[in-house]
Symmetry: D2
Subunit: 283 residues, 4 copies
């Protein structure tokens, strides 16, 4: 049983007294904080915070919290949201043929580690239908012949399934800029290089060509500029001269799936706040 | 120029409202918090916090802060302290013949990375005198023939130099239990294994004998039980079958010095709080 | 398409001229070496080597190679074997209820990364039947009420399916000593700690209790002494004071599966040679 | 006492029988191989090898080895060299004001870990004179007002001190292209980023700006194209949103010094062979 929690995330211009005001509001209603994180971005002088509270310690529900908190929020000019752990986030997965990230995410989901709903998996290929359907999750094939129509269809499916976040789990298609803009901070990609190195196609071959001694993977929000969105999580693994591009691809799969799983988890738990083209990740 | 900061560390029985009370106190005096960390130990239901504030945002000095805060502290039954970054901690180093940790720490000190005073270095050998004295730091030799007298002398030197923390930078002598008890949470050691594996002498040889695939180092507070005190920091490095015990010793030196430097830094910055035989490290 | 390879592994008393004799034998028949590794164990003065050759560069098949090589082998008093990549190894998996290692290994197998045959999966529970059978692999339930009979049954199944290696993929039962002895160097286990720390049950809880700053996993050959067999592969991951035992279990799953996958891969590719209670791993 | 060794490194067009021919030559003279490594570059079909032998197992000295081996070498069209561990390599260090790499390398040298001669340290500043001279090593200041004359002077000093390798231990000047070409594969630099990301000036600030979650360092051979030479060694370390550019600089120093020390060690031990713009590192 996961405990019932409210998570409050805030960003606002920095000044003295913000923490006291917010924690004072919570304390005044008997709220019990179980995790609290803060950060000030030096460049923009913007303040970010995340408070996780025991839902049962508060005398009202999430909506009432939001109503009461709004006054304080406007006083400090806050962007903020309160999420309720009882409302699972809805994640739509986009895949092509490679299934290592899909396999990893679905295992975490079916074992109860990844606490989300997955209303459907969308793909431009049929290969992964059987595996997805074994999990009891609808698998929807979208033809990519007309890319513009295809992405309209994907957007429609995402809306219709009330998706919160779209996860590109090794989806081998470039998203149209307007699609990226429409779902700003709601699309997560796993790129198979340690960005900003090796943007674009065949990054492991680029890495092999350059002779690097470690390769990496990057989980990031998708923006209209290719592989240039805010980075959520990265990791690297050691390789050497004996490794072929195929070996790099194989090692890479292991970091891709763990980096995507970690990044997605942070996002699901409202740990990721965006500041310009960077992220704050309250781990 | 390092900014002038106050750091408040607290532990007390957990309950709702602690953060609000403490940050309320700070805000009421205009205090500007630059870093804040919290933790509740589930087993003991004890709450731990660390607040770092801009000294210039407060209308009074550290002593006045302490006076005013005492009332609130007693209300919540707090163990607490406020440190002032203008008062550098005084670190006494104990060394034998091996100098990799000493060399590393003295470099960090002379380059301004490690913001402490080092009133003296004490050793049971003469080998490192010239290197220490080149830094303008007194080097004091203590004869170990009579161990009991030697540790009385070390204690006297530590007191006389107003030492805050005693750092065993590869000091190859076991400290008497009463000495450990006397300076509880004030003696830091670097042990050359990934504890709890390979306690005691020649851990790299023990590791080689067992055929482990990684070796490690552990920075911990010294207690009267050998290599069993609260762990502050650890790290590991990969080895393989081709590595001799001498190779492990060589790799080990590199992790020993970084692990000790990190652990000591956390301690100096009041990031390490002890809870039973464990540490909370607010990084 | 994987290239057709022969792999020759040898151990013998060390002396000058072994490499020349072996590579001379290979060269004399036009054999093309694609990977070669050597090691001398200093304690036992025993020499170990692994040669991987292109099968198509040799004018005869594996059996003929073995016949011709036998003379040379006896001259140097070698323990040796030649394996043929066309003969896939047969791996029998033993599981209980936890499926993260199973899920990982079956994905590597179905994606063609793990080049083995899996004739069956054996379990003391029914939970994982559907997932295994989706892969078209027979799932065999063995009742553990009578442990002695159960292990006789497992041995019979292993023999009947011509298993080469038995993999304990989080199998939560202790194997009888005679079973371990019977299949010496043929049973691989994943233990959920960084051995030799935290032998036995609930290692993550032991780790949490001790307050270590990294946790680990160990892939090793099973011997009759619990968790004390030759270590094949290990890895660690950073944790901190905020992590509960459940968090450690969650982080641990990720290293368990990668460590087991790596260790098994090394074993399958004949990269692991045993020397006393240690392994040589020719990566 | 370091054992007396000969190290033979070879590159030549790949074909069957090379290993047999070389190890046959060694065995025929009773030579005892203690370490052997091989690699074929798939793109160029070039073969690389390194053999380390006990000098006392051979009936002749290094010069006689070279004379006798020349015939075999020309038959296989080899580029090759034989080095004698009794002839220490001569390393000239170039530094500016930052001394973390210098401090690290000089410690490794004075503790006997780095088995080289350091005939002098050259700098464009006076800051590090006293520290270098404490080691009994000549410190030579070179004025950079006329860059062309300065690098002529550096070349002259390098020649006059019979330097084998020039190490840029955080030398903050760009070397002229002709200087780089003249000492091809003999100049080693430490760059403070994970190349190919963040070439050029202020890489930690570039990294902070991009919001990467790990930073790195790269040890590479210097070529006339800035930060684009063959990479010898790299490593990364985790950072997060709370780290300022100054924090990155501080973390970075620790990886810079270990990456340079490892890369230099590999080079000194003749473990680094260059293939196009990549390195083979026989660790």
């Amino acid at each position: 049983m996961t405990p019932h929690r409210y998570t409050l995330t805030i960003s606002c211009p920095d000044r003295a007294g913000i923490i006291a005001a917010v924690t004072g509001f919570i304390a005044q209603h008997g709220g019990f904080i179980v995790e609290a994180s803060y950060h000030t971005d030096q460049e923009t002088q913007r303040f970010f915070m995340r408070q996780e509270m025991r839902a049962d310690s508060l005398p009202f529900d999430a909506d009432e919290f939001r109503r009461r908190f709004a006054l304080l929020a406007s006083e400090f000019d806050m962007h903020w949201q309160l999420t309720d752990s009882a409302q699972k986030k809805r994640i739509v997965l986009l895949v092509s043929k490679q299934d290592h990230c899909l396999n990893d995410l679905l295992h975490r989901w079916r074992s109860g580690e990844l606490l989300v709903d997955i209303p459907c998996v969308i793909s431009n290929h049929q290969d992964l239908r059987s595996f997805v359907e074994w999990h009891g999750i609808p698998f929807i094939h979208v033809d990519m012949t007309d890319k513009s129509a295809a992405f309209e269809r994907i957007a429609a499916l995402f809306e219709q399934h009330h998706g919160d976040t779209l996860v590109l789990a090794r989806f081998m298609q470039i998203l149209p800029p307007d699609f990226c803009d429409r779902y700003s901070e709601r699309i997560i990609n796993i790129h198979h290089s340690f960005l900003p190195s090796f943007v674009g196609a065949k990054p492991y071959h680029q890495a092999h060509q350059r002779g690097v001694k470690l390769i990496g993977a990057t989980c990031h929000f998708v923006t209209s500029e290719l592989d240039a969105g805010p980075i959520i999580e990265q990791d690297t693994v050691r390789v050497d001269h004996g490794d072929t591009p195929d070996d790099l691809v194989r090692y890479g799969r292991d970091i891709e799936k763990t980096v995507l799983a970690r990044g997605l988890r942070y996002h699901i738990e409202d740990r990721v706040l965006v500041c310009g083209n960077k992220t704050i990740v309250f781990r």
